[in-house]
Amino acid sequence: MAEELKIGVVSCSGEDCSGGTISRLATRKMMDSIRPDNTVTICLPLFLAGGQEERAFAKEYPTIAVDGCKRACAKQATEKYSGKVNSVVFVSDLIGDEVAEGPALSTRDLTAEHQAMVDKVVVEITKKFDAIMNGKGKEATAPKGSSCGCGCNC
């Protein structure tokens, strides 16, 4: 019996800008309600601090990076420790640089407008998600295998 496909979604944590909060909420929504059977969220802080389970998963399975701004921390970190990401969603492209790089946003201060931004990002993530599921994404559905050649186990 073939195991159902899982896709790792790595969100930036963006503690000092609104884009980070929007990224995080959109990624959580993928896991909570949009594609709960197939989404595995990868905790970026744990990933960076050496989380072996997160890194191993990202090496073996397709990944989507969701970045709050063009610094692209989620994408960079995934590529550094686990190999190329299959897709990237830049929140700043969807909601505008000025908003994404605006002051840090608490979940307590979310407005209807913010929720709409989250939904907009979710739509984009879902498109890329489904493309991978249907085999149309880059490197499609096959597990990646390790692309890190240095033998690091950090």
Binding site: S11, C12, S13, G14, E15, D16, C17, G20, R24, L25, T27, R28, K29, D32, T41, I42, C43, L44, P45, L46, L48, A49, G50, G51, R71, C73, A74, Q76, A77, K80, P103, A104, S106, T107, R108
Partner: protein
């Protein structure tokens, strides 16, 4: 140790557990409302990816890390990047004082969760003040 500049307060922002959200929100509350003139936060991931711009003003500056769980991602990452950690706060240490509390999920906090988050933020703010005084 210079404390003329703001103290860096860095949350783990863990995605998988409510405690990661509590760490994040506690830090935001501290730097936005409790001591905006004395403390600031930085993107943990941005510092770790090691850009020069990110590390400027971070290297060897006093830091407080706030971690949601024993994985201690913020403390580990900040230490690895040369941050001068003055305090490692753990959300779980505060949660242990609130047996039976239901703070919410990693997406959303309950009112109880917010109350405990504010308690954590107050603790951070106290520590920020102490560090500033120590530096004078």
């Amino acid at each position: 140790m210079s404390t003329n500049k703001k103290i860096n307060v860095l949350a783990c922002s863990g995605m998988g557990k409510v405690y990661g959200l509590m760490a994040r929100e506690a830090v935001l509350h501290t730097v936005k409302h409790l001591c905006p003139e004395q403390a600031k936060t930085l993107c943990l991931a941005y510092i770790v990816t090691g850009e020069e711009e990110a590390l400027a003003g971070f290297d060897h500056q006093p830091c407080i890390t706030v971690d949601g769980c024993p994985a201690m991602c913020s403390a580990k990452s900040v230490a690895a990047m040369g941050g001068d950690i003055q305090e490692e706060l753990k959300v779980l240490d505060i949660m242990k004082l609130h047996k039976g509390a239901k703070p919410g999920t990693a997406t959303e906090l309950t009112p109880e969760g917010w109350a405990i988050t504010e308690e954590i933020a107050a603790k951070i703010a106290d520590r920020v003040e102490e560090i500033q005084k120590e530096g004078k």
